[in-house]
């Protein structure tokens, strides 16, 4: 597994995210239809398709440049709650990673933490509120732990984050929502997965796969 990851990885992450969002567009909207307004997959797909178009036209020189491109595009194309939240996440990652040409394990864990903090700053959600934070916070914790470990690598940090995000997304199933549209539903939200947590898990998995982590087969 790579010890540090550069702009090519960041671009590959975004492209893989676009693919996985497109493939799960209907499924994500379906989750949102159950406890929201049914547009989450459509919204993200619109945003990531626009990112791919931009990446076809220009090649970011640093990870931060790729994150900033993603942030601006998501902010201007996605709308809804997810647009500003994901936009802020990528913007904070761009700020956190600055001019660096490559990111090592610690830098990646730091970037993920900055992203999460940005989402919390905008959305004021806590763990257990049944939002994307329920995926991001365990992901950040797992990434931080992995980065501090003896055999830390960029890839292992991202793999740890992805696995934790997936478990975190699952953990939203039994919850009542306290933020976002699902909060209007009260107890009726129980038994449904939060769409933003689900998409966060998909996107973090894409990051790990772009780093060549196990499971990045295709």
């Amino acid at each position: 597994m790579a010890d540090s990851l550069g702009a090519a990885w960041a671009v590959d992450w975004l492209r893989r995210s676009a693919d996985v969002v497109a493939a799960n567009r209907v499924a994500l909207s379906e989750l949102d239809r159950a406890i929201g307004d049914g547009d989450h997959g459509e919204n993200l797909d619109r945003g990531y398709q626009a990112i791919v178009e931009k990446l076809d036209a220009e090649t970011p020189a640093t990870p931060a440049a790729a994150f900033k491109l993603a942030a601006m595009t998501l902010m201007s194309k996605v709308g809804g709650a997810a647009g500003p939240l994901y936009g802020t996440a990528f913007l904070r990652m761009a700020t956190a990673t600055g001019e660096a040409a490559t990111l090592d394990a610690a830098a990646l864990a730091g970037a993920l933490a900055a992203a999460r903090d940005g989402v919390v700053a905008r959305g004021k959600a806590e763990v257990g509120d049944k939002t994307m934070i329920d995926a991001w916070t365990p992901a950040v914790e797992a990434a931080t732990a992995a980065a501090a470990g003896p055999s830390a690598s960029a890839g292992s940090v991202l793999a740890a984050a992805a696995a934790a995000a997936e478990a975190g997304a699952e953990s939203t199933d039994p919850l009542i929502a306290h933020k976002g549209r699902a909060s209007y539903l009260g107890e009726r939200a129980i038994g449904h997965r939060d769409p933003g947590a689900a998409s966060s898990a998909l996107i973090l998995r894409a990051a790990a796969e772009a780093a060549g982590a196990p499971g990045a087969a295709e």
Partner: protein
């Protein structure tokens, strides 16, 4: 799903284009990024801007014109617009006296308008935000995203719009908008769900004999589901939480607004109005003004919402002030 559309991805662009053609004397459509602005506005007046997901027509673009909005920003269907639309719309609405953003309280709308307001302010435009959260179906607590903005939005836009038109300053326009928010409560019911074009399937499933009480305007499920009742019974169920929350005193003057969700005939709205007017009269309230029709919709959803606004003399006279927009017009 059968709809009078072409490409599901183009519904908003094509619809707003048609809207611009039909109301060319009143509005200008800016296609990319998409927003609608008023054709002739007095220079130096406070600008009024609103926006939100599409699918609620005539809200918001239908209220651009004299005495109401200076700009409207349509998002994708049921999806709040983005800052890159809101910012140029704010610039267009500004004629030097600043701009009031009227924002329905949904996380997405709040976040996108917040970002846009920050950036507009960075460009030197004073922005105030009025957050509309009139939906008593939703518990307003620390543990929710707060009450949704629904029917009351139309009343805020009209009354704040009249204040801006008569020359009130930025803070005064925002304050009157806030006063409307403080005095209006709304509750809705769905007899059927609606179908978002790109989804192609109804937003929820309702049995042949079920209705959904406390729905919002995005096809999201409501507060609870009950067996079908008659119009009087449903009206009573909608008014009860409104009055409990608004706590009007006997003798209070109110505006009664019965709003269609898009797929309900006007005749049924008047049957609801009839009952609502009686209930309010029985509660000792004086219905001074009324509005009945499709003013804030959820695509072709069948159902309605009832809003009650407690009026004071200033609100009443601002309500009565001339307005000339595609969807609301009087006095000129």
């Amino acid at each position: 799903m059968k709809k009078l559309i072409n490409d599901p991805k183009a519904v908003v662009d094509e619809s707003v284009e048609g809207f611009g053609l039909a109301h060319a004397g009143l509005v200008t459509v800016h296609p990319d990024p998409l927003f609608v602005s008023r054709k002739e506005a007095k220079s130096g007046k406070v600008g009024l801007l609103s926006g939100g997901g599409s699918g609620h027509e005539p809200l918001h673009a239908g209220y651009v014109g004299f005495g109401m909005l200076d700009a409207a920003v349509p998002g994708a269907v049921f999806t709040s617009p983005t800052p890159d639309q809101i910012i140029p719309a704010t610039v267009a609405a500004n004629s030097g006296a600043g701009v009031v953003h009227i924002v329905k309280n949904y996380t997405g709308d709040v976040l996108n308008f917040e970002t846009a307001a920050e950036m507009a302010q960075a460009e030197g435009i004073e922005v105030r935000t009025v957050l509309v959260n009139d939906d008593v179906a939703v518990e307003d607590s620390l543990y929710t995203a707060g009450r949704r903005g629904v029917g009351g939005t139309v009343l805020v836009e009209k009354i704040a719009g009249a204040a801006a038109e008569r020359g009130d300053g930025l803070d005064a326009v925002a304050a009157i908008g806030q006063r409307v928010v403080d005095n209006v409560r709304t509750m809705g019911v769905a007899l059927s769900a609606c179908t978002v074009p790109h989804a192609g399937v109804p937003s929820f499933e309702l049995g042949e004999d079920e209705i959904e009480i406390g729905i919002g305007i995005h096809g999201e499920p409501g507060r609870h589901r009950i067996p079908m009742e008659n119009a009087d019974g449903i009206t009573d169920r909608l008014l009860e939480p409104i009055l409990t929350d608004l706590k009007p005193a006997a003798g209070d003057k109110v505006l009664l607004f019965v709003n269609g969700m898009g797929g309900t005939p006007a005749s049924e709205l008047y049957i609801v109005y009839r009952r609502a007017a009686k209930v309010l009269a029985d509660a000792g309230l004086s219905v001074e003004r009324s509005l009945v029709g499709n003013y804030i919709t959820a695509l072709e959803m069948q159902g309605c919402s009832i809003s009650v606004l407690r009026l004071d003399d200033e609100m009443t006279s601002l309500w009565d002030a001339p307005v000339n927009t595609p969807a609301l017009r009087w006095g000129m």
